[in-house]
């Protein structure tokens, strides 16, 4: 949909100009009456109010003469007498549409902007998926739709700074839950949504992430008691905290990843409109307009309170304040450098789409941060598999020996340990190992991997050790049964024979140990499963990501099975020859 551009009559333009100058002067006089008065810029000419009035006056003059071919988006708006603002319709308390019409913080801002420009405000529904496309296609003039200002989006739309709000990821839990920070989150379970940009940071801090599909599900799980802690954008929780029951039960434990939200105009012809909106935002911050609108919609005020203090400062409350790096916040860094082989991946995707009709999302191979995560995940998974195989073998030999000792004093406690390991679900054993390790050392990925190697080695090594001891016991019994052939075997020879007899069980427990390694992700070990879960915040296609994960692990297990088979064959041949 394009704007209906019609020429504005000089009389109408003049009246509008008068209205704007009066409306801009009103807040100045109102402020003058209040004490304490904010600091004013050194020169009245450099105030944002005067700069905005001048900018709009120029645009009106232009609109009076060139509405047939408007030179800028601002002129086109003035010519049309209407500004089309893209807003959301389902994100309370920011923007909702119900039987009574539209309401919310962003709706109120949109209406203020229309009033300041002296034009009608036409609200157009947009979604996170099409809000930037709607700008580029000229369907809307401005978007005010819960959009975070990131370096990636900066190249797709012209963001207005100062920002009108900022969100961050809030970790919510019961009021009775112990106080937490990002540093003390290691070993705790947090329920998150798949693809959330804060997942990698929380996982890096050692939190166990439980994945859910939607934010609403997180709240359900918090209420049902399945999740003790949930993480989501704090703006999402805003509406829940308006509910007295929710407020009495839960509180924000801490927040991470602040993200400033910005209005945006089109890149092509939106420069003049962007300047006008930036000046308006300065004024709205300084005069507490944003703050009052947020208060009216029961939003968190900390960001806006802090911003008001900034825009009351002499150096910021100026015509060029919105270009001053000491006043405006930079966009959130989200640069996605491409991998060296991104072109080849693109070609593969195109080939699959054209030849086989398959739409496969392979962003994890195209974006460098995602690829780095995957590469590290593969490396850690292989370390984990190798370490677990070694520890399983070592514990098997050790426990097998201990269970075969003649002394009951040593044998019985070991038997108790093995029984304990056998009757504890493996996930619980891993959690216990990780908790004990975290109590002694500070959480790190190396610690998580080491704890997993030890726990998985103990569980499977315990079972294999029992198999060795049973084989040894059967050999001892056979030794005592007549007829005895040759001299009785020494303990060492018996042990070697027992190993040979129990080799099938040892191999099967080694394979079991390999299959159990992905469980280490539950205690924060940064292996491939964890890495791929984190990488879903870069990729829109979860299916391809999880297919790759399944193929990787099945291949790893098959390789271990093959190695075990070969080793057994070679060992048998060697022993037979000996």
């Amino acid at each position: 949909m394009t704007a209906t551009v019609r020429p504005a009559s000089p009389l109408r333009a003049g009246l509008r100009l008068l209205l704007i100058v009066v409306s801009l002067c009103l807040p100045l006089s109102a402020r003058a009456a209040n004490a304490p008065a904010p600091l004013q810029p050194a020169s009245a000419l450099s105030s944002p109010d005067v700069a905005l009035a001048k900018l709009l006056a120029e645009a009106h003059t232009e609109a009076a003469h060139s509405c047939i071919a408007p030179t800028s988006r601002l002129v086109a708006i003035l010519c049309a007498g209407s500004i089309r603002i893209g807003v959301r319709d389902n994100y309370p308390p920011f923007a909702v549409m119900n039987a009574h019409g539209r309401a919310g913080f962003e709706i109120a801002i949109a209406q203020r902007i229309g009033a300041m420009l002296g034009v009608k405000t036409t609200l157009v529904t947009v979604t996170p998926a099409d809000r930037i496309a709607a700008l580029a296609e000229g369907r809307i003039d401005v978007t005010i739709a819960t959009m975070g200002d990131t370096t990636l989006r900066d190249s797709q739309a012209r963001f207005i700074r100062p920002h009108y709000y900022a969100s961050s990821t809030a970790i919510i839990g019961a009021k009775s839950h112990p106080a937490l920070t990002l540093r003390t989150i290691g070993g705790r379970t947090i329920c998150v949504t798949v693809g959330d940009s804060s997942n990698p940071g929380l996982a890096e801090a050692g939190a166990r992430l439980l994945l859910f599909a939607s934010p609403e599900q997180l709240v359900d799980e918090l209420n049902s008691g399945t999740c003790a802690l949930i993480a989501q954008d704090d703006t999402f929780f805003a509406r829940y905290f308006t509910d007295p029951r929710f407020r009495s039960l839960y509180s924000v434990k801490f927040t991470v990843d602040p993200l400033p939200w910005g209005m945006a105009t089109p890149i092509q012809d939106g420069a003049q409109l962007a300047d006008a909106l930036a000046l308006m935002s300065e004024i709205f911050h300084r005069d507490g307009v944003f703050l009052k609108l947020a208060q009216a919609n029961a939003l968190g005020l900390s960001f806006l309170t802090q911003q008001r203090a900034v825009w009351l400062r002499r150096d910021c409350n100026a015509a060029n304040g919105f270009t001053n790096s000491r006043c405006v916040l930079p966009p959130h860094r989200s640069d996605m450098t491409e991998t060296r082989f991104a072109g080849a991946v693109d070609a593969t995707q195109n080939w699959l789409a054209e030849r086989l009709g398959l739409q496969v999302g392979l962003e994890i191979f195209k974006l460098q941060p995602a690829w780095d995560l995957v590469r590290e995940g593969i490396r850690n998974s292989l370390i984990l598999v190798f370490g677990t195989l070694l520890s399983t073998l070592a514990f098997a030999l050790l426990i097998g020996r201990a269970l075969s000792l003649q002394s009951r004093l040593l044998r019985w406690p070991m038997r108790g340990v093995v029984m304990l390991l056998q009757s504890t679900p493996p996930v619980l054993s891993l959690v216990i190992a990780a908790s004990a390790a975290n109590a002694i050392f500070a959480f790190s990925s190396t610690l998580a991997i080491s704890a997993a190697i030890l726990a998985l080695g103990l569980i499977n090594g315990g079972n294999a050790g029992q198999a060795i001891s049973e084989a040894l016991a059967s050999l001892r019994e056979e030794q005592q049964e007549p007829p005895l052939i040759g001299p009785p075997m020494t303990e060492t020879t018996l042990y070697i024979h027992a190993l040979r007899r129990s080799v099938t069980q040892i191999m099967s427990f080694l394979i079991n140990a390999t299959k159990a390694t992905p469980m280490a992700s539950f205690i924060g070990a940064p292996e491939l499963l964890n890495a791929l879960t984190d990488s879903t915040s870069f990729s829109s296609d979860r299916e391809a990501t999880y297919w790759l994960m399944l193929i990787f692990y099945v291949l790893v297990v098959l390789i271990v099975v093959w190695i075990c088979g070969r080793t057994r064959f070679m060992l048998e041949r060697y022993l037979n020859a000996a």
Partner: protein
């Protein structure tokens, strides 16, 4: 000193453990449904046997934990079968993730039982029952992984309670209670399986006829 634990925790733990048993039961039933046809084909003679063998090897190589995350992300939350809307719950997803393991071991045990049955060694074939019971208890242990995807089961009850405490000593107490709870039930189960196996084995030995012995030797490659 043990930490103060409410009655709510113990009832929560019991309900959660009940869910583990329920998920394991679902996995066992599904495993039987898939494992039985595999076993039948496997028990046949000729090259057709290679097919179930390959399938079982592949199923065995799939780690349960990975399959669980895979299914969680691949399966739709709701499917329509014959016009009926079916919600795929997380519990069902966990049961489904245990299917590769249960189907492969059931196929193996059932194929062996079929071979025994075919040669008239009925009691030896009945050893499938204790095998199924053992598989069931292994499935109960494995269903604890469901805590990783937010299923409200035994392990998640333990973890939630442990998260309420700051001191490692208190948390270890909670873990110890969990280990005891699972240990008691599982060890009792394993002892029961052992008894059933011994009883059936004794029956096999007592009732074994000369023809059985000959055929059994054939089966064992003797």
């Amino acid at each position: 000193m043990p930490p103060h634990l409410t009655l709510g925790f113990f009832s929560d733990l019991l309900i959660g453990m009940g869910r583990d048993f329920w998920m394991a039961a679902m996995a066992l039933v599904m495993g039987c449904s898939l494992g039985a046809p595999l076993a039948i084909v496997w028990a046949l003679r000729g090259p057709i046997r290679l097919l179930p063998n390959a399938i079982v090897q592949l199923l065995r190589a799939a780690p349960t934990f990975v399959v669980m995350f895979f299914l969680l992300n691949i399966l739709p939350h709701r499917i329509t079968i014959f016009g009926n809307d079916i919600v795929i719950s997380r519990q069902f997803t966990v049961a489904l993730s245990l299917l590769p393991y249960s189907a492969s071991v059931i196929a193996e045990s059932a194929a062996e039982a079929l071979r025994h049955w075919r040669v008239g060694s009925h009691l030896a074939a009945l050893l499938l029952l204790p095998n199924l019971a053992r598989i069931y208890f292994v499935l109960v242990m494995s269903s604890g992984s469901a805590a990783a995807i937010g299923v409200h089961e035994g392990i998640s009850s333990i973890l939630r309670q442990a998260d309420q405490f700051q001191a490692i000593g208190d948390r270890l107490w909670v873990f110890a209670i969990g280990v005891l709870g699972y240990g008691l039930i599982l060890q009792t189960g394993f002892i029961g399986v052992q008894k059933l196996r011994s009883h059936l084995a004794a029956q096999v030995t007592r009732r074994r006829r000369p023809s059985d012995l000959t055929e059994s030797s054939k089966i064992n490659g003797g």
